[in-house]
Symmetry: C2
Subunit: 199 residues, 2 copies
DNA sequence: ACGGATGTTGAACTTAGAGTACAAACTCCG
DNA sequence: CGGAGTTTGTACTCTAAGTTCAACATCCGT
């Protein structure tokens, strides 16, 4: 894939909506060409095919998330607080790019078959969270955990699915609110706070 | 879609692996025909196309999950305990059908565009969980929550993503263990148990 | 057992649309 | 000016989805 002129990349974002709405199969290359204003021949000059176009857009999204998440990770404060920041950061980006999120989930299989994307996904989500969990165990702001990797996956799942729902069913809640709810669940759990209830 | 002879349905399960491995696009109808031993013409006699075949398999999976989950919901005990049972039930089914799970996530977009599937998904996951949350708030085994629907989504996300990881990266853990880890996070949260740490 | 309905299949077919080829034009830079 | 790289229209090929249909099988009621 050739280096992409900025102007061209910009035009492509319009097509993301299309792919999200109809799925990648139902979107003809000619549709993408028409919707974005980039002629088919030019598309093929830069991309190997449909999937690569989608992958390019998704990678962009993931990079954006990874960036914002990294900022939240590097913030001041105890790991517990920063984890909340990470959750908010991820949800923020997702709410800001609903079409891409819908496209991502809709054609995850195709997209993920491209190895760079898997790496981007991991860098954007798991690694920072896993890191925070370790730090939190050290500084005492999170409880110690025997298996940070699994927990990172769970946290990722919680945040991501909530973000996707939001992306799919339209903005119903302030991202701030969602983040609060998610953080509450993740930090405090569902059990009542006064211990000794569960047998 | 015509009513499907059992024998035919059985044969199709073999093809699920194929679709999961290569994604639906890379799986030709003729491949499915060959892999399952069902001739192409017969496939088209019963299904409108590829997607419908996948949808059929997925609906089957969801129905299985919904069934097991319903049993867990209806069990004895406080809602908190039953919630743990629900988590285990869902993970169990997912671990038992890794190929279908991979196919589900890989081609979610295509599959979910079919409306019956969305309904099946909701029935299998959200509704029972949401119900349990309400009951738990009543019987005191779970803390009260202002927004059970959102929390049901979060729980769904946590369990599902963990299940998918397991389905994708092969069975690495006993489902029992995974369920324990997930339940721990969901019930107790990540914050240390002695309160007053977070500023 | 007969015969109609309904299921099953092979084979030949149409068709949409992905991807290719390529030459003409255009842009940028030395 | 001239060459390298880019942009695009147009016309093409080719794969695989989906259709059609006629032949054959199976089952069921009378």
């Amino acid at each position: 894939m050739r280096a992409l002129p900025v102007q061209l990349a910009t035009k492509l974002y319009g097509a993301a909506e299309l792919m999200a709405d109809q799925g990648l199969d139902n979107t003809k290359i000619d549709d993408i060409a028409e919707a974005s204003g980039v002629p088919k021949a030019t598309l093929y000059y830069y991309f190997a095919g449909k999937e690569e176009i989608l992958a390019f857009l998704l990678k962009d999204l993931l990079t954006a998330i990874a960036g914002d998440v990294a900022v939240a990770v590097a913030a001041d404060g105890q790991a517990g607080e920063r984890l909340v920041g990470v959750v908010r950061a991820q949800l923020d980006v997702m709410v800001r790019h609903p079409a891409l999120c819908r496209a991502l989930v809709g054609d995850l299989g195709r997209a993920t078959r491209l190895p760079e994307l898997a790496a981007a996904l991991s860098a954007a989500f798991y690694e920072p969270v896993e890191e925070l969990l370790r730090e939190g165990a050290k500084d005492g702001s999170l409880r110690a955990t025997e298996d940070p990797m699994s927990e990172a996956v769970m946290i990722f799942g919680t945040v991501t699915v909530v973000g996707l729902m939001e992306a799919i069913f339209g903005p119903q809640n302030d991202p701030e609110n969602i983040a609060r709810g998610v953080s509450r669940l993740l930090l405090d759990g569902l059990a009542p706070r006064n211990p000794g209830n569960a047998s």
